[in-house]
């Protein structure tokens, strides 16, 4: 359909909602979620026999939560297994954040000038190399605090770099 109206329609820009909208929606969802839980609780009360099971589970999870949330001392030379678990959880959180940021950063990289784009691509590639090397070293020496520290630093660096890309002002917009 080569109609100029369709061509013009395609060029209409997407309209972005205000940033504050998500927080309103989030409040709604949290309310809904609490309502759901309330319902579950009411159901549970109706079936008292499961309450004791729930109590045991809560105690177990609380133990796990305390276990994981205690501070990790990266100055130690070798990490305890508990510290390793904590560090790996932190790494996992970084990886998740990075995965989300990567999509947005990729869009932004398509819009900035080539020189800057190559600069950031090189930097990200360099950080990825470091992450991969650390990961390999960790697989051979999982409790070494030094390697873990540098792995976290590289992940932090990647997250920071992606955020920096997303926040870049696109030159020539004005």
């Amino acid at each position: 359909m080569n109609d100029p109206i369709f061509d013009k329609a395609k060029q209409l820009q997407p309209i972005v909602p205000d940033d504050a909208l998500w927080s309103k929606i989030e409040d709604d969802l949290i309310r809904e979620s609490q309502q759901k839980r309330k319902n579950i609780f009411q159901m549970a009360l109706a079936h008292k026999s499961w309450l004791s099971v729930a109590a045991v589970l809560i105690i177990s999870f609380s133990y796990l939560a305390i276990y994981f949330n205690s501070a990790v001392n990266l100055d130690a030379k070798l990490l305890s297994t508990r510290a390793i678990l904590k560090v790996e959880l932190t790494e996992k959180n970084y990886m998740e954040a990075i995965a989300l940021l990567e999509k947005r950063a990729e869009n932004q990289l398509g819009q900035i000038d080539n020189e800057l784009m190559f600069l950031y691509r090189d930097k990200l590639a360099m950080i990825d190399t470091q992450i991969n090397q650390c990961r390999e070293a960790i697989s051979k020496n999982p409790g070494n605090a030094h390697i873990r520290k540098y792995m976290l630093a590289a992940l932090q660096d990647k997250k920071h770099t992606l955020t920096e890309i997303i926040n870049l002002e696109i030159r020539g917009d004005s």
Binding site: L78, E136, P142
Partner: protein, 540 residues
């Protein structure tokens, strides 16, 4: 009853899980120390490769090298432990012109397979940590290749070659030459005597008190230099650079990050894609190529040359000449001892306190000059021009926007297209060509020549005029008004086609032949021609 049974089963399961875990979750590491002492000759080299350890090197007055290697390893079953230790090597062997330290643990394999896929690391290798402490005679060279460990070197006098990765590199009180490559770890060098060649990837660099030349190739992390007694050459992808007290020449290639330098004893060259610049106190020349970001330069002993585009440029207290190429953003200069040349399109230009000539090529944006001891030449286009206190002559080409001059000691030559011209206190000869807009001269001290087209001419405050000077005014359609001092005896020739002539002095009427005016007679010669009114008044 049923509930109690279910609860008990779950509780016991959880308890078993933790109980099983706690037996293994706790690490009780074993520390094994190896050591050896060997004799070394002055000027030899100590090698340490693939160490994956924290390495500490220091010196003492002796001809022996002592090495202490520490292996910290997590608790292992007896057989595994024995096997591991049996396969661990520690020895010092002769190598090239020196000694090689070998400290190797068995090659370890990463966990893999079914349990790893499930997230359970059932066959993971033992965790370990290594360190090597080396105490050696001062006059030794060292060559180290290390990763996943920090390297500290103190007091060595020789060639220091270090290739390190994922660890901090620290050099203190060393001398000789250093070839360093550090990746993903900070680098700190203090009190080094000799030349430094430093390559880094993603390392913060911190150099203090270096007596020798410094060459740096770096990527993204900040570089900080303090007290470098030699030349500095930096090539960086995108590191912020800050430096102070650099005695030699300084060269930087950089992109995007800020450069902040202070107290440079030599010259400074910066080539940058888009770095914000803050420069203070450079004794010799400064040469800058940079775009987009502001450049602030304060106090340069030599010449300053800036080639930019879309930079805001602020420069003051420059001992030599200043040359600026720029566009779109303001150029603001003050206290310049040398000549100034500015070629900047669409840039607001402001120059104050210049001791020599100023030449400007610009368009569209205002040009303001104040206190210029030399001559001024402006090639403008639609630029509003204001010149104040110019000791030399002024030559201006411009169009459409007004030209204002106040206190010009030399001559003023103005070639305007549709520019209103207002000159106040111009002591040299005035020569103006203009169209359509008025020409007003207040206070003149030399000959005046005006060629106007539809420009009114208004002249007052003519002073210090003698028989050697001449006033020659020509325009069309607009009136001419001239005020002359009462104590002179001018010879005035006038011509108008449609206007009236009103004069406080006697005049010659030259209806047809203006050439009939007698140039050889004594007195100030005045020649006025227009198609409108002519008014000549006397100032008492």
């Amino acid at each position: 009853m049923k509930n109690i049974i279910i609860s008990t089963i779950i509780f016991l399961s959880a308890a078993m899980l933790f109980a099983r875990g706690n037996g293994k979750f706790k690490i009780d590491p074993e520390i094994i120390v190896y050591s050896d002492v060997v004799e070394v000759e002055d000027g030899g080299t100590i090698y340490l490769f693939d160490s994956e350890a924290d390495v500490f090197i220091s010196t003492k007055a002796t001809n022996k090298m002592s090495v202490k290697a520490t292996l910290e390893i997590e608790e292992l079953p007896k057989e595994e432990r024995l096997k591991f230790l049996k396969e661990t090597t520690f020895e010092i062997v002769p190598f090239k012109k020196g000694k090689k330290i070998i400290f190797k643990t068995p090659e370890q394999k990463g966990s893999s397979g079914f349990f790893s896929i499930l997230g359970l690391k059932l066959n993971s290798p033992p965790s370990l940590y290594k360190s090597v402490h080396i105490l050696l005679p001062e006059k030794q060279s060292i060559k180290i290749e290390n990763k996943y460990g920090d390297v500290v070197v103190k007091g060595v006098n020789g060639k220091i070659e270090i290739d390190n990765s994922s660890g901090k590199l620290t050099l203190k009180r060393n001398s000789g030459t250093a070839l360093l490559y550090n990746r993903y770890g900070d680098t700190e060098i203090k009190n080094f005597k000799g030349n430094l060649d430093l390559k880094s990837t993603s390392s913060n660099l911190d150099l203090t008190n270096i007596t020798g030349s410094v060459k740096i190739e770096a990527s993204y992390r900040p570089i900080r230099l303090d007290s470098i007694y030699g030349t500095v050459e930096i090539n960086t992808t995108s590191s912020a650079v800050s430096g102070k007290n650099i005695s030699g020449d300084f060269t930087i290639e950089n992109a995007y990050r800020q450069i902040e330098l202070e107290d440079i004893g030599g010259s400074l060259k910066i080539k940058s894609t888009s770095s914000e610049l803050k420069i203070r106190n450079v004794e010799k020349d400064v040469d800058i190529i940079c775009n987009y970001q502001p450049a602030r330069i304060d106090s340069v002993g030599g010449n300053l040359e800036i080639s930019g585009s879309s930079n805001e440029i602020y420069a003051r207290r420059i001992g030599g000449a200043v040359r600026v190429r720029n566009a779109y953003k303001p150029v603001i200069l003050s206290d310049i001892s040398g000549t100034i040349f500015i070629d900047s399109q669409s840039s607001e230009i402001e120059v104050t306190n210049s001791k020599q000539d100023v030449e400007i090529v610009s368009s569209y944006k205002p040009i303001w000059l104040k206190n210029v001891a030399g001559n001024v030449q402006i090639d403008g286009n639609s630029s509003k021009i204001l010149m104040e206190n110019i000791d030399g002559s002024v030559m201006v080409n411009n169009s459409y926007k007004e030209i204002t001059g106040i206190n010009i000691s030399g001559a003023a030559t103005i070639n305007g297209t549709s520019c209103a011209v207002l000159l106040t206190n111009t002591m040299g000869d005035i020569n103006i060509r203009n169209e359509y807009k008025s020409i007003i001269l207040k206070g003149t001290g030399g000959s005046i020549k005006v060629r106007g087209n539809s420009s009114s001419i208004e002249i007052s405050g003519v002073q210090n005029i003698s028989g050697l000077e001449k006033i020659d005014l020509y325009t069309t359609y607009k009136p001419v008004s001239l005020q002359l001092p009462g104590n002179i005896n001018p010879k005035i020739a006038v011509k108008t086609k449609y206007g009236k002539i009103k004069s406080a002095f006697p005049v010659y009427y030259l209806d047809e032949d203006i050439a009939g005016f007698d140039d050889n007679k004594d007195g100030v010669k005045v020649n006025i021609e227009t198609t409108n009114d002519i008014s000549i008044t006397k100032k008492n």
